[in-house]
């Protein structure tokens, strides 16, 4: 069962807000709350995009991104990085590791939807 977006985010309220705005924009969503669960969920759910928080328990977002890029099967997977530490250093690290987009918390809902739409190249499920 393929979905549109996999969200990896540990803060419950942030996850809820992301889930709501992206669903409302028409995509199908699934979520994990720690770094270890991401790779497994990606293989199982075959999302078209991963929204990845940097500060994840067990395994950091950067680590997960590195794993994805190292995996032949998954290396083409678009990844949107979310971080509360909106620092230049984190952004550079994300770009070097091959992140496709970058959104800083606290985000405007429209920015998240816009970034996802740009990466998926469509108007969501409703389009």
């Amino acid at each position: 069962m393929a979905i549109d977006i996999l969200i990896a985010e540990d803060e419950p309220s942030i996850l809820e807000s992301l889930d709501f705005i992206l669903r409302r924009a028409g995509w199908t969503i699934s979520a994990v709350t720690d770094g270890d669960a991401v790779l497994d969920a990606v293989r199982r759910l075959r999302p078209r995009l991963v929204v990845l928080d940097v500060m994840l328990p067990k395994r950091s977002g950067f680590d997960v991104l590195k794993q994805i890029r190292a995996n032949l099967e998954l290396q083409a997977m678009p990844v949107l990085i979310l971080t509360a530490k909106g620092q230049q250093a984190d952004r550079r690290t994300a770009e070097e590791l091959g992140a496709n987009g970058f959104v800083t918390k606290p985000y405007a809902n429209a920015d998240v939807v816009g970034a996802v739409r740009a990466l998926l190249g469509d108007d969501g499920g409703t389009a």
Partner: protein
């Protein structure tokens, strides 16, 4: 009965034999360094010049008077030689290193190369030895008279010549003989191998003669035991009962001093020593020799007292006993033995004294009054020295003769010898200080020797003329101007001691006191300090330091001393070491060549200018009248410049150190700054998380399409909760920040800690139940008062319990709480069966914003809880620690001091 002519002819013949021996001995020793003349045996035998006619005749007389007392004269030297390792070895090593030629030279060298001290020592030695030489003249005179049979008892005439004439003849002959013997040439090391060979031969002769007489006496008396028995039967006062009185101690001390300080002993033991290891042999052989010498003294004395007519001179028993029994050849042998003892002493003593007189009195005078420098013509100098020595010998023997002349009525030999011993002993404290006491000063040594000498003249030398001068007798009886406490033999009212002990006691006591006090009160000159180090530390440096006493050329030591002042220690040492390496010798043995002196001058010129360098070096090198001190003064001015630059160096070192401190402070600030960055970044992270939710949900609510009321309600409540979370976070940050600054928002008052724990458990009850957490209550303390704040303490317990709940992912979660009072402290342990805290995180968990990574199902905290709890407990003077717990998970322990 032997004729006088025969006896005198024998004596002259014997002297001739000695001369031949000395002549060939000298040749042989020069030709062959390995000759037996360089053996320890010859060395030991030559030391036995200590046993003079005083031993040969006087000891018998002494034994007849005072029993075993005569032994003390040999006991002192025995101690010194058995203990050669301590004193003699040091003395010999120093004297070799410094090319010491006499006792006066030794003391002068040690005390800053002072010539004044050398003159003083020489004068005292010459005067002090006069009685000793007189003793030998007297012994020889008496022995000739005795053996020639003109008179045995009292005074008499020899073929019309009285004893004075005889003594004068002997003195003149001795002077001639000594001049022929000892002043044939001048040796740089002042060694006289020929003389030493003759002395060694004489040592054998006198020992053989005395042993022969002793054996004869034992034979004639029918064995030792009968001799003593018969003496007892005859009522002869058996002198074997002996008392260890003050005289014993005195003669022991004096003989210890004498074996070291007597000029002839210093000459044979130290100056003539060609190999330090010979001391090892002499250490036992010389005492053995003295033991053999004294073996038959007592039997001869006792036997003489019992068989000789009353009134016989006991001093002559060794001679008169064989004659009494008609053994003329034995008597002649005994005479030769005694004659040997006397001649060897006179020859060596006057050689040793003449060296002192010529080196320390004549030479300096000649150098002072001859305007020209001592010319390169070394022949002139050594001729001058020889002439000076010859006259010195005549002077010394004349003094001895005059002393003999004035005191000829006094009978016993032994007391005369002890007068000399007391004079010579005045050098001993200074010698010991020279070898062992670093701080002994020139002024101390000079004044000590002078003071001791004055006392000796007054208390010992003067009274010896008592029997010939009524004025002296008056003086001794009543003191000068009738002042009783100045009486020479009862000075300061001390009249319990016998005259010898009295003189020795006062002279040596005042000598030692003066030496100590003056040395402590005066400062040493630079040269004294150098020499004192060379002497006292002679064994520390291992190899032999330099020391070249030839006038007109500088020693490496002197040059180094100047160089060190100008160039500094390190540079000077480097210069000298490289020079030593180039010439392939040990730095200590460096002989400054003219090239080296030139190089040194160039080096010095770099520091003080060419002219000064030249003046300074030429003064040291030519050894002209300018004293080393003056040169030092010049060097000291340079030294001031060096010190100034050293001060500059010190200042810049201080600057460097300040700069380093600033750098350190800067590093610390940077670190604090980066900690602050870290903190801000943590805070911003903690703030952004709730902010993100609030912003996102607010935007959702701003665009309300497709949201039902339930959803709206939910979103608003989330926004509210996140706002609360933000507030809580800010509170915690402020709280922690205050705590970390050491501030406390509460007063520490006695509170019941158990009650606070119970309250915390009640507050957490709902949470525990929600997670189905089983609570085990272990041992609990009764109500316990601690210093603190009840609410804050409760806050800590709540934090610990809720952590235990939040991080516990076990299917059957357990919480175990125990509390107890142990040795004045209350402790609470809160343990769980959760995943525990990995080793890597154990030190981190108390840090700000540190959250357990494992299994946090509820991550709403900011990670400040433990940091705050630890601060709170610390402000209550307690501790919060992670300890190994009773369950599988973590265990936190709070410990607080109990209030009494």
């Amino acid at each position: 009965m032997l004729s006088a002519d025969f006896v005198i002819a024998t004596a002259v013949g014997y002297v001739g034999l000695l001369f031949v021996l000395a002549f060939f001995g000298d040749r042989r020793a020069r030709a062959n360094k390995k000759s037996f003349l360089h053996s320890p045996a010859v060395y030991t035998l030559s030391i036995s010049v200590y046993c003079t006619s005083w031993t040969f005749y006087g000891a018998v007389g002494n034994a007849a008077h005072s029993g075993l007392e005569f032994l003390t004269i040999y006991l002192g030297p025995t101690l010194v030689f058995v203990g050669w390792w301590f004193l003699l070895r040091r003395l010999v090593r120093i004297s070799h290193n410094q090319r010491i030629t006499s006792l006066a030279d030794l003391l002068s060298s040690r005390f800053g190369k002072s010539n004044r001290l050398a003159v003083l020592v020489t004068c005292i030695a010459v005067i002090g030895i006069a009685p000793y030489i007189a003793l030998q003249l007297k012994a020889v005179t008496s022995s000739i008279q005795a053996v020639a049979g003109s008179s045995e008892f009292g005074q008499g005439s020899l073929a019309g010549i009285d004893d004075v004439g005889l003594a004068f003849g002997i003195a003149a002959a001795m002077a001639l003989f000594t001049i022929l013997f000892g002043t044939r040439h001048v040796d740089a090391k002042e060694q006289h191998h020929g003389v030493v060979a003759a002395i060694a031969f004489e040592a054998v002769v006198k020992l053989g003669a005395l042993l022969a007489v002793g054996i004869f006496v034992v034979y004639a008396g029918g064995g030792l035991e009968p001799i003593f028995r018969r003496a007892a039967e005859l009522g002869v006062k058996a002198p074997t009962e002996n008392t260890f009185n003050d005289r014993w101690l005195t003669t022991l001390v004096l003989s210890v001093a004498a074996i070291v300080c007597l000029p002839r002993q210093f000459q044979v033991t130290v100056v003539e020593n060609s190999d330090e290891s010979h001391l090892r042999v002499a250490g036992w052989a010389f005492p053995a020799y003295m033991l053999l010498m004294s073996l038959f003294i007592l039997p001869i004395a006792v036997f003489g007292l019992s068989v000789m007519p009353a009134g016989s001179n006991p001093d002559m028993f060794a001679l008169t006993l064989p004659m009494f029994y008609g053994q003329s050849p034995l008597a002649l042998l005994a005479f030769i033995g005694g004659f040997s003892s006397a001649t060897s002493m006179i020859i060596l003593e006057s050689i040793a004294l003449s060296i002192m007189v010529s080196n320390h009195i004549v030479m300096p005078l000649v150098l002072r009054f001859s305007s020209s420098q001592p010319s390169a013509d070394g022949q002139g100098v050594s001729r001058l020295l020889l002439v000076a020595r010859r006259f010195s010998i005549i002077l010394i023997l004349s003094l001895g003769f005059f002393y003999f002349f004035f005191t000829r009525d006094s009978n016993a030999l032994a007391p005369i010898g002890l007068i000399s011993f007391t004079a010579i002993a005045q050098f001993f404290p200074a010698v010991l200080a020279a070898l062992f006491w670093r701080d002994a000063s020139l002024k101390g040594a000079t004044s000590a020797i002078a003071a001791g000498f004055v006392i000796w003249v007054w208390c010992s030398f003067l009274p010896s003329f008592e029997s010939v001068s009524p004025q002296v007798a008056m003086l001794v009886q009543h003191g000068p101007w009738g002042i009783a406490w100045l009486r020479p033999e009862a000075l300061f009212g001390l009249d319990r001691l016998d005259p010898l002990s009295h003189a020795a006691f006062w002279s040596l006591t005042i000598n030692v006191l003066t030496l100590t006090v003056v040395s402590l009160l005066t400062r040493q000159s630079a040269l004294e300090r150098i020499q004192s180090t060379l002497f006292v530390d002679v064994f520390r440096h291992g190899s032999t330091p330099q020391g070249n006493f030839v006038r007109g050329s500088a020693t490496a030591n002197d040059l180094f001393f100047v160089a060190e002042r100008v160039l500094g220690d390190r540079r000077a040492a480097a210069l000298f070491e490289s020079a030593a390496r180039e010439s392939g010798v040990d730095p200590d043995r460096l002989e400054p060549s003219s090239e080296f002196i030139g190089r040194l001058e160039r080096e010095l010129a770099g520091s003080i200018g060419a002219a000064s360098a030249h003046v300074m070096l030429s003064k040291v090198v030519t050894g002209s009248d300018v004293s080393l001190e003056e040169v030092m003064q010049m060097a000291d001015e340079t030294q001031q410049v060096i010190e100034y630059s050293q001060q500059l160096e010190k200042t810049s070192a201080e600057l460097r150190s300040t700069a380093r401190k600033l750098e350190d402070a800067n590093t610390q600030l940077r670190e604090l700054d980066s900690q602050k960055d870290e903190f801000l970044s943590q805070v911003s992270h903690e703030v952004r998380t709730p902010m993100t939710s609030i912003r996102s949900f607010s935007e959702i609510l701003l665009d309300p399409q497709g949201i039902d009321d339930t959803q709206r309600q939910h979103f608003v409540s989330t926004i509210h909760q996140e706002s609360l979370r933000l507030t809580r976070l800010l509170d915690e940050i402020l709280d922690l920040s205050a705590l970390e600054r050491g501030e406390r928002s509460w007063d520490n008052v006695p509170v019941d800690a158990e009650a606070a724990l119970d309250r915390a458990l009640r507050v957490c009850d709902a949470l525990l139940r929600q997670r189905n957490m089983q609570v085990e209550l272990g041992e609990r303390a009764s109500a316990t008062m601690v210093e603190g704040d009840a609410d804050r303490l409760c806050q800590v317990f709540i934090n610990l319990v809720s952590n235990a709940v939040k991080y516990n992912d076990s299917s059957k979660p357990v919480l175990r709480v125990t509390s107890m009072v142990r040795s004045g402290s209350f402790s609470v342990e809160i343990a769980d069966n959760g995943p525990g805290i990995p080793k890597s995180e154990r030190t981190l968990i108390f840090e700000k914003f540190s959250r357990g990574k494992q299994g946090a199902s509820d991550q709403s905290g900011a990670g400040l809880g433990l940091a705050i709890s630890r601060q709170i407990i610390a402000r209550m003077n307690g501790t919060l620690e992670l300890v190994p717990g009773p369950l599988s998970g973590a265990c936190f322990r709070v410990r607080l001091p109990v209030v009494r």
